[in-house]
Amino acid sequence: MTAKARPGKTTADEDGASRRDFLILATGAVGGAGAVLSVWPFIHSMNPSADVLALSSTELDISPIEEGQAITIQWRGKPVFVRHRTAAEITAAQDVDVADLRDPESDQKRAEKPEWLILVGVCTHLGCIPLGQKQGDPRGDWNGWFCPCHGSHYDSSGRIRKGPAPKNLEVPPYVFIDDTTVRIG
């Protein structure tokens, strides 16, 4: 509104124009921020719920697993590989120049006790389950696991050596409660 339209008023400020601009801006900012923030509960409701999170640890008795054998258990809906490694597998895993690896990590860091290798059995490419747990499965060029989906090879420490996967098989958080029991998660 101009001074002309409202005789007696001379400047925009006296007319309240800048005060109105301020109010519109402030209301818009508060309303806008509120609208954006109120979206969060909707988004967060789709994240894992309390009951899903509550299922996130599993205990396992490892005494029946013979040397050279592996078993697969389920943790958080995913397979976890527990392999009782042979001496040859351990040496092969340790005798690697870590610097040459795609995802450099030493075997010592990946296995708390060298004879027990515990991994999340999910290919880091697009989530298939690599083969190599059962007798007679292909175990890839590095005698570990082989993912048939797009051809990733993992070594006997579960590290990526060839194929499209970018990372080593993940080591889940675990603790040995005693000599024969391990808690995963």
Binding site: I43, M46, N47, P48, S49, V52, S56, T72, Q74, R76, G77, K78, P79, V122, H125, L126, G127, C128, I129, P148, C149, H150, G151, P164, A165, P166
Partner: protein, 406 residues
């Protein structure tokens, strides 16, 4: 008959001019007089969408979205529900027919330059419909909870883990857990129910835009007056009905004689989160994109190329610099059009095969060609191609020189 000129019809018309609207957009709508059969596929797509919604709603009355019951509830539809097998096969193969129809509809647009000014927004809305259809079909395929349902979901949702930094959090959010599971199945069902109605909304915008700029035609020139057009009804309603008959014969032949031709036998094995099937392949309509994904030896790069191959359609109206719409008058573009179509089929074939041996190289060459078509060939053709002279008008072209040859 209710008439808008008297009685109850007039009472309604005075308050909501619905008769006028229907007459204007379904009867009088001035349509180019020279449309060929490639123009049937728009109305076919609309009819297929209706078929999908009707069969989907009755299936939803029998379906249980829970990991322990989903597979069995679909098998119950197949064995115990009256005509359940028919409804499911109509829905399952309806998805296939929908993509066939829409892909033909899109290639029609590419051939006759229907994406060029003033139809850019119309084209954009079409691409949005394609993206929504893909999301809907992907989530629908998850519902029977077979091995392919489960592992296709796992692989496709894992694509998002390629996003730097927040990738893992996005994937956990999509799943609602630490792996594909019951929360995933539930939300996919909710969205599978919702998205087709969103598609209906975008289709309405698509047709609104169409009726504003009017249909393109095989000559790719504008209608200049009444001599160039005919009313939609009865000319194109009749032609669309005939096309619908042919379409239904093909669709029913598949439903009754080869209902599982396009499916994967592995999806009749209940989902097992602890064992991946040896060969995971997506549904046929996703194969070319799957080939592009695998052609790039880097995880993030592959995901970007795959989404890029679709998103590039949005900028197509500005990549093609030629002022001439129809390939009929663009002798060089016409050849590249067919090469591009062959390239897409090759990508589909590569996507269906394991990424080994010759398929790796063929997939990479075909992917490179796919992007070159848009980013190099089309912009260059706009500069160098010598186009043929355009006819003076549609009427002149189709009435004095006989039917156009193509």
């Amino acid at each position: 008959m209710i008439s808008p000129d008297k009685g109850i019809g007039k009472w309604i018309e005075d308050r909501l001019p619905i008769f006028e609207f229907a007459k204007h957009s379904l009867v009088d709508y001035p349509t180019p007089r020279n449309l060929n059969y490639w123009w049937n596929f728009g109305s076919l797509a609309g009819i297929t969408l209706v078929i999908m919604i009707v069969t989907g709603i009755v299936l939803a009355m029998q379906y249980t979205p829970h990991v322990d019951y989903a597979f069995d509830s679909v098998e119950r539809v197949m064995r115990d529900v009256n005509y359940g097998w028919l409804l499911r096969y109509l829905h399952m193969n309806g998805a296939t027919m929908f993509f066939i129809v829409v892909y033909i509809h899109i290639f029609r647009g590419l051939y006759y330059g229907s994406y060029k000014s003033p139809r850019e927004l119309l084209w954009w809305l079409g691409v949005v419909i394609l993206l929504l259809m893909m999301a809907t079909a992907f989530m629908g395929y998850v519902l029977p909870w077979g091995q392919m349902s489960f592992w296709a979901t796992t692989v496709i949702t894992n694509l998002f883990s390629a996003v730097p930094l927040v990738g893992e959090s996005i994937v956990t959010w999509l799943w609602g857990g630490f792996a594909v599971g019951n929360p995933t199945l539930n939300r996919f069902y909710a969205l599978h129910y919702l998205l087709p109605f969103v598609i209906v909304g975008v289709v309405i915008l698509h047709i609104w835009a169409l009726h504003t700029v009017k249909s393109n035609n095989p000559l790719g020139i504008d209608m200049k007056g009444p001599q160039d057009s005919i009313p939609f009804h009865p000319y194109y309603t009749a032609k669309d009905y005939f096309g619908l008959g042919v379409f239904l014969i093909a669709y029913m032949a598949i439903v009754f004689f080869a209902p599982n031709f396009f499916g994967e036998p592995d999806n009749y094995i209940p989902a097992n989160p602890m064992a991946t099937p040896p060969h995971i392949v997506p549904e046929w309509y996703f194969l070319p994109y799957y080939a592009i994904l695998r052609a790039i030896p880097d995880k993030l790069g592959g995901v970007i190329a795959m989404f890029g191959s679709l998103l590039i359609l949005f900028v197509l109206p500005w990549l093609d610099r030629s002022k001439v719409r129809s390939a009929r008058f663009r002798p060089i573009y016409k050849q590249f059009f067919w090469l591009f179509l062959v390239d897409c089929i090759v990508l589909g074939w590569v996507g269906a095969n394991p990424p080994e041996g010759k398929f790796v190289l063929i997939g990479q060459v075909a992917t490179a060609y796919y992007f070159s078509h848009f980013l190099i060939i089309l912009p260059l053709l706009g500069l160098v191609e010598k186009t043929k002279p355009l006819p003076e008008s549609i009427a002149a072209a189709v009435t004095t020189t006989g039917p156009p040859k193509d």
